[in-house]
């Protein structure tokens, strides 16, 4: 009993400390959000810094070089891709003016009533419903997404945190392992080593997968001739981070735009075909190559995770909730597997 009591006290104290830490994190969601995004980005960029180091650069120089590269890419993005993007946003805004939108929606309503009258589709009042939802969407966009102050703070703070995580990440890890008691020191290092490989591969895989799917979607929608192809492709790529719902959301958006654009379903068929091919390519070629180990989650878990992410951290929380849940799942799974392996005998 004497042997067991101190360990029980320790476990209780550790549990209380862990609970207090988690509550503390919930009290500062904005900072947690910034650190999580910065950590994800530094994980994705880490192999690049290692590659530059292997070419003889110091870690600091390698990190600075990567940041300069990113700035250059952003400048190119600003000069080359931003004008068409703004044009699409502008044309989207003009496309949403009451007269044009009304005409497009009534055209869509006619098509739906003509084709689906046999299942009782008669008076839809889509224009009225759309107007109401747009008013709410506008309010919601301004309160959730377009918070300029927090956007500027994030744009300054995230690169700042990423820089130091990349430059001094090893020292942080050493400091963390350094405070471990001797008994758990080697195991904690072993666990960090295994997690680093698994989580790093998972996150980089997800990022590359999203980028490839986004590019394929932009290309396919441009070839089909859909308006706002760049915006929809971008959305499809980001939404691809969410399993099950992401690809459907991207396709649904493209189908709606194609129907509004042409007033018929002909172009929508091409969109469905293109998204099916992209999904097949993603499942058969891209994912097996770039996503080292998939984190299987059933659709209900994904839905709950997205809802919780949205409730706690807004739109960004919804987008990043599945990769973060995947990250937590990998951490827990690998911790259990490796603890069993470590203490196998």
């Amino acid at each position: 009993m004497n042997d067991k009591s101190p360990s029980l006290v320790k476990i209780a104290l550790l549990s209380i400390a862990a609970a207090a830490f988690i509550i503390f994190l919930f009290l500062i969601p904005d900072i947690v959000k910034l650190v999580v995004i910065a950590a994800l980005l530094s994980y994705i960029l880490d192999p690049l810094a290692n590659l530059l180091e292997s070419r003889g650069m110091s870690r600091t120089k390698a990190t600075v070089t990567i940041f300069l590269g990113i700035v250059m890419l952003l400048v190119i993005f600003y000069l080359v891709l931003l004008p068409p993007l703004f044009e699409q946003i502008k044309s989207l805004q003009s496309g949403l003016n009451p007269e044009q939108t009304g005409a497009m929606v009534s055209r869509l309503e006619n098509v739906l009533v003509e084709n689906l009258s046999f299942i009782g589709v008669k008076d839809l009042d889509l224009a009225g419903k759309l107007q109401g939802s747009m008013a709410h969407a506008g309010e919601w966009m301004f309160s959730h997404v377009l918070d300029a102050a927090s956007l500027i703070t994030s744009m300054i703070l995230i690169p700042f945190i990423v820089f130091f995580l990349m430059k001094d990440g090893r020292e942080f890890k050493r400091a963390f392992v350094g405070i471990m008691p001797n008994r758990y020191f080697e195991f904690s290092l072993y666990l960090l080593y295994k997690l680093n490989a698994q989580v790093g591969n998972f996150l980089r895989g997800q990022f590359i997968d999203a980028a490839i799917v986004g590019l394929l979607a932009v290309l396919a929608l441009w070839l089909i001739g859909i308006k706002y192809f760049f915006l929809i492709g971008l959305f499809t790529g980001i939404a691809n981070l969410i399993p099950y719902f992401g690809p459907i959301a991207g396709a649904a958006l493209a189908i709606i735009v194609s129907v509004l654009q042409t007033g018929g379903f002909e172009m929508a068929l091409y969109v469905i075909l293109a998204f099916t091919v992209i999904k097949l390519l993603d499942d058969a070629v891209v994912q097996p190559v770039v996503v080292a180990k998939s984190v299987d989650m059933n659709p209900l878990t994904v839905l709950l995770v997205i809802l919780v992410g949205g409730k706690l951290f807004g739109v960004l929380g919804m987008l990043l909730s599945v990769p973060i849940a995947g990250f937590i799942k990998v951490v827990v799974r690998e911790s259990i597997i490796n603890y069993r392996k470590y203490r196998a005998v």
Binding site: N182, F185, E186, Y193, A344
Partner: protein, 171 residues
């Protein structure tokens, strides 16, 4: 005030010299220049153990080697409770774990209060990625060290089996 700083720097220099002197005696790091040695020192973990404290247990997954800076370590076989070796300042153990993740074949216990430097596989792999030239030199020396140990084990086995063979041939 300046004396305080002088003393701090002296203490730090003394500790650095102590570690340098130990490291250059370890075959794996023997041929490294001072710049390379500094890179290695930055990736080593320094740990302090009390007397009778376990460093690792038989059956744990091995992650790397330990270098004794101060104190003595006993290597014990748990099942037979047999003392396999007693290692002191400048000795190292567990280097095979740098290559293989097999469970530790014995338990290491600090005989006296110890200061150890730990060189682990994740850091070696990281070094190979970031500084392939230095990493491959260390790997080469590691292979050489393990080869030397294998040769000496073979010789010990031959010496042990020598009298038995003579007895067998006589009978």
């Amino acid at each position: 005030m300046s004396k305080v700083w002088e003393n701090i720097f002296k203490l730090r220099r003394k500790q650095t010299d102590e570690i340098d002197n130990i490291l250059v005696k370890i075959p794996i790091f023997q041929d490294l220049n001072s710049r390379e040695l500094n890179i290695i020192k930055r990736i080593l973990h320094k740990r302090e153990y009390k007397a009778k404290e376990n460093i690792f247990n038989e059956g744990d997954v091995g992650l790397g080697m330990y270098i004794i800076v101060r104190g003595c370590v006993r290597i014990i076989c748990d099942q037979e409770n047999q003392l396999l070796a007693e290692l002191c300042e400048g000795d190292f153990f567990g280097e095979l774990a740098l290559l293989d993740e097999a469970p530790r074949s014995a338990t290491a216990v600090a005989k006296t209060p110890c200061v150890l430097l730990c060189f682990f596989k994740p850091e070696l792999l990281d070094l190979l990625e970031r500084n392939p030239k230095l990493g491959s030199r260390i790997l080469f020396k590691l292979a050489w060290t393990i080869g030397e140990r294998l040769k000496s084990t073979n010789e010990q086995l031959r010496a042990l089996s020598g009298p038995d063979r003579q007895n067998e041939s006589k009978s």
